[in-house]
């Protein structure tokens, strides 16, 4: 089975989407004989090389962050380009993993709906997806063995989706959050903003600047 892991984050490195795809890749490699192509859609245009790789794969898995309740604009632009491409009636199964900075994975529901609607327009098959809450912390969370650690619910969801991918089956969208208390996640994020603005030479009160 030829699988494309598509990183739809605008960030070239250190993205939560990249972390999720790395985890998913480790599941896919151990699960069966799979040939994996890693494709980056960091810009508004799908490169010739990426198109060529996509033409040689049967399953596409998009991972992207939630931006303003939808998918990032640059990825939307790529989807329009992919819809306009002649795929010569290829049967492609599509899955999606959308992570959000908010705690609740359900907030990614409409972004997954966009991917599903895009499948209808392109004629591809929607295989379902995962909405991941607490995406802002994924970079800092270690992977632990035997289903432990704060990333465990996310890893479990990725494992379940891996089984579906291998069977080329469809799953209902699955919404998960990190196993970390919401109030602590909120506190950690807000401390992070304060550290960052100070590191940039600013003051914490400037986080709330109201510009005219």
């Amino acid at each position: 089975m030829r699988i494309a892991l598509i990183n739809g984050s605008p960030k070239v490195s250190n993205s939560a989407s990249g972390v999720l795809l790395t985890d998913l890749k480790s599941f896919l490699i151990t699960s069966s004989k799979t040939e994996i192509k890693e494709i980056n859609l960091h810009n508004t245009v799908v490169s010739k090389e990426a198109l060529e790789d996509l033409k040689n794969t049967d399953v596409w898995i998009f991972a992207c962050p939630l931006y303003v309740d939808g998918i990032p604009a640059h990825l939307l632009s790529c989807l329009v380009q992919l819809e306009e491409t002649d795929w010569q009636d290829r049967q492609v199964q599509i899955y999606g993993v959308v992570n959000c900075g908010f705690y609740e994975g359900i907030q990614a529901e409409f972004a997954l709906n966009i991917l599903q609607n895009w499948c209808t327009k392109t004629g591809f098959t929607w295989g379902g997806g995962i909405g991941v809450g607490g995406g802002g912390a994924l970079q800092q969370m270690p992977t632990m063995k035997n289903g432990h650690g704060p990333k465990a619910p996310v890893e479990k969801a990725l494992g379940t989706m891996t089984d579906k991918i291998i069977q080329r089956e469809t799953q209902k969208n699955n919404y998960v959050s990190i196993a970390f208390p919401r109030f602590l996640y909120k506190m950690a994020a807000q401390m992070g903003w304060r550290q960052e603005i100070k590191a940039n030479g600013g003051k914490t009160k400037e986080l709330g600047n109201q510009l005219e």
Binding site: P10, F102, Q107, N117, R182, K186, Q190, G208
Partner: protein, 162 residues
């Protein structure tokens, strides 16, 4: 002030009262997820291409009007790029609203959102997604939804007054 964000280059729909139109003019760069608009130049995007001040404009408006092609239930890439680049309208800190995590307000104005989608063959699922996203936008801006409408062509939109 009414703030209109549209992908129609030659925008000529009549508008009552004070308004500003943000439409395709030159190249727009997509959001790169750097959060500079929160932690480097709070309130303003760090990419200087003429679209860096939309967050400030949103802080001055009473009505946000989105006029866009419907792309799979989303606004079009141009309108979405403007929205993505304008997250500085809200504060990076979190609050709980309707039991969910959202961002805190930066400004005091309450935005009422109207969305006018156009396009041939907009499916019922796309319409449902679009309505849900505009509702979610209103929750995140801590604002309200005025209306969400669908049209087949841009021409049909020219018969109304915003």
């Amino acid at each position: 002030m009414k703030l209109i964000i549209t992908d129609i280059e030659h925008f000529n729909i009549p508008v009552e009262g004070d308004y500003k139109v943000i439409r395709p003019q030159g190249n727009i760069h997509h959001c790169i997820g750097c959060f500079g608009c929160w932690v480097k130049t709070p309130g303003k995007c760090v990419i200087h291409d003429g679209y860096e001040g939309t967050g400030i404009d949103m802080g001055k408006c009473t009505e946000l009007i989105l006029i866009s092609q419907c792309c799979y239930g989303s606004v079009s890439p141009f309108v979405k790029t403007v929205q993505d680049r304008a997250i500085s309208y809200i504060h990076p800190d979190f609050v709980l609203r309707k039991g969910e995590m959202h961002h805190k307000r930066r400004y005091k104005n309450i935005i009422t959102i109207s969305a006018y989608f156009y396009g041939t063959h907009i499916t019922e699922r796309e319409k449902e997604t679009a309505r849900n996203i505009i509702d979610a936008n209103a929750d995140n801006y801590d604002g309200l939804v005025k209306n969400v409408c669908f049209y087949n062509t841009i021409k049909e939109l020219e018969n109304m007054i915003l």
